[in-house]
Symmetry: C2
Subunit: 374 residues, 2 copies
């Protein structure tokens, strides 16, 4: 997607965000109704009993107790990592931008899945990297192996073996974005690639999807020899992640509510995903629809190639009809000749899902009529 189309989409979405009656099927926001407000409140109180830790400067690599927690959790998933391999960042976004800047050089090729997180594409493009398919040899990789955004699927065992051949045996650096890995509908969390290639994989996680984005707490974990440079870069960029939000999180995690919370939101998101998929199957018959195993979204592609370049007019018509979506082109480094879109069930109320998809269907009908008339 070109920068000007991207800016135009951004502008439309921003204007749409002001409309109070809009049904938001865009954005990938977690459901604010699921935020553990009361337990975070309790955690804040505990945090303030240690003002020196909660409100003072901290280390660039983050709070030791939180790094401990991250490492311990990754060990339960098979990775041999300690707190010394973990850096706390401002969300996953900063973990990606830091790693990419340190590991990749201008002009390098970087292997991606056919669809990827737009925030990562943005970073990689700004670094002057050239995009190739992850199936090709490349200087480095950016992947979401456990739970891909936007498709909500995991890499197969064969695919994992193929990429581990490069990252593990050949030592090619690989950024493993695991933002959605815990959000499987069945609660099964895949073994992270960093477990099998700890010195070339930089593993990335975040609390933004499972807890809430407003804390801005993410992390990276790796035995990559460049870890020290990543910490130095982090210090240069903004000294450290927020002491207060890290401390709130540490206190929250001590409280033993996290697993129960995960179980509850997995179930709730699974239900919303199903409602959305059924609504799409009923109302948008021209589109083929994925079957996500987790995450926040559904990936749609129109079966007929003639709609390929219609995502911006479709988006404008949808917003006009009172519903938003994310144009598929934002997720793609190359078009594949199909109109595609990401619909998110995560941020919308259950009762708004069906009406939202109906509005979308009406908007699409209008656009396709105009196209046929033209």
């Amino acid at each position: 997607m070109s920068a000007s189309v991207s800016a135009r989409i951004d502008e439309i979405q921003r204007q749409a965000a002001q409309a109070s009656d809009l049904i938001p099927l865009a954005g990938g926001l977690p459901d604010a109704r699921f935020f553990p407000k009361r337990h975070l409140g309790d955690a804040f109180h505990s945090a303030l009993t240690r003002p020196r830790q909660a409100l003072q400067y901290g280390w660039p690599e983050g709070e030791p107790e939180l790094r401990d927690w991250v490492a311990a959790r990754l060990r339960t998933r098979g990775a041999d990592l300690g707190p010394e391999h973990v850096v706390i960042t401002n969300g996953a976004q900063q973990a990606i931008s830091l790693s990419a800047e340190v590991l990749f050089a201008e002009g390098n090729t970087v292997g991606l899945q056919a669809e990827s997180y737009p925030g990562a594409i943005d970073i990689l493009r700004a670094l002057g990297l050239r995009f190739v398919s992850w199936r090709m040899p490349a200087h480095g990789y950016y992947l979401m192996p456990a739970m891909a955004n936007p498709r909500g699927t995991a890499m197969s065992d064969d695919q994992r073996a193929q990429i581990l051949e490069r990252a593990g045996r050949e030592g090619t650096p690989l950024i493993e974005d695991d933002a959605y890995a815990e959000l499987t509908f069945d609660g099964q969390t895949a073994r992270p690639l960093v477990a099998d290639a700890p010195e070339s994989v930089v593993h990335i996680g975040t609390m933004s999807k499972v807890l809430c984005p407003g804390l801005r707490v993410g992390w990276l974990a790796t035995r990559h020899p460049e870890l020290k440079s990543i910490v130095a870069k982090k210090q240069q960029l903004d000294l450290q992640a927020g002491s207060l939000t890290q401390r709130i999180l540490i206190e929250y995690l001590k409280g033993d509510h996290y697993e129960g919370h995960l179980t509850r939101i997995r179930r709730a998101y699974a239900r919303k995903a199903k409602l959305l998929r059924n609504a799409v199957l009923r109302n948008l018959p021209g589109f083929s629809v994925g079957e996500p195993r987790g995450g926040f979204s559904l990936w749609l592609e129109h079966k007929e190639p003639r709609f390929a370049a219609f995502d911006v007019p479709f988006l404008a018509a949808a917003i006009e009809a009172g519903v938003s979506f994310d144009p598929g082109s934002s997720f793609r480094i190359n078009g594949n000749g199909r109109l595609s879109l990401r619909l998110c069930h995560s941020g919308v109320r259950e009762e708004d899902i069906e009406p939202g998809v109906e509005r979308l269907a009406r908007a699409f009908q209008q656009v396709s009529l105009k196209l046929s008339a033209a």
Copy 2:
């Protein structure tokens, strides 16, 4: 200072931070006893009544109400700026790194004061810039005009006129780091340079020194035409500043405690600065001592050139004696043939100031005896 000396100093300071009986005259940390814990607690409660704003994603440029507050405050200091000219960042450090990356290009010259904030020197060096005196023509400038770190002094009217000639009339980009501007002992806050050259000066402020660093809330404010690129870069790096900490700050500022807090801490820091200066005059007669008008620190230079290269052994001896300081070389792009150091009164208890300086004097005596013997 070379990177290896810098790493060595960092290592010594880190080890020292573990020692419980160390008197910390290093680091520039604000006094944790001054953090408005109770009012921040109240603000957090108000923040949690709006979980959608406090815990959800926000805009890359920051929360509108906080941007309003920053702009309004700068208007009281003479700058014609609105919220649309303000970006909220993770502390002043990120505001500096973002501005420098967007405004300066590799190989450019950048004009600095004789001593500067080491975090900024780090950023500018990593960008491949060449340092010159701010009195010389340069591609850009990084200055602390209102309250310089480490000297605690303001630029004179003549100096301001000289730099405004370049930034204002010639349009040379200038990063104005105003982190300590509100921390004058007499409560008089200087007119910011951005008031006189809003399109070339990027003004930077932070809550880290006046409130607490753990929130990680800073900002930049400017009418520079590259503001849009700065916001795009911010979004790429980490999406946005923390929603929760911004919301806590907004609620705190609504509470009308800020001016009273500022008055109290100005008085308290003024008293500590005086205690420190008197202790230095009594115990370290070989050093010339500045007379700060605000800020967290005192700048010392030894009168005799023969001690010039002794800051690392002096630091090691001081830590051994139970006191830390910041070697002057960290603040300098070029040595001037004098042993120099920054002493901070901010993070230390009043009753520890005199004993701390006495330990420092003993350590210096040891080092100078060794030097004479060698």
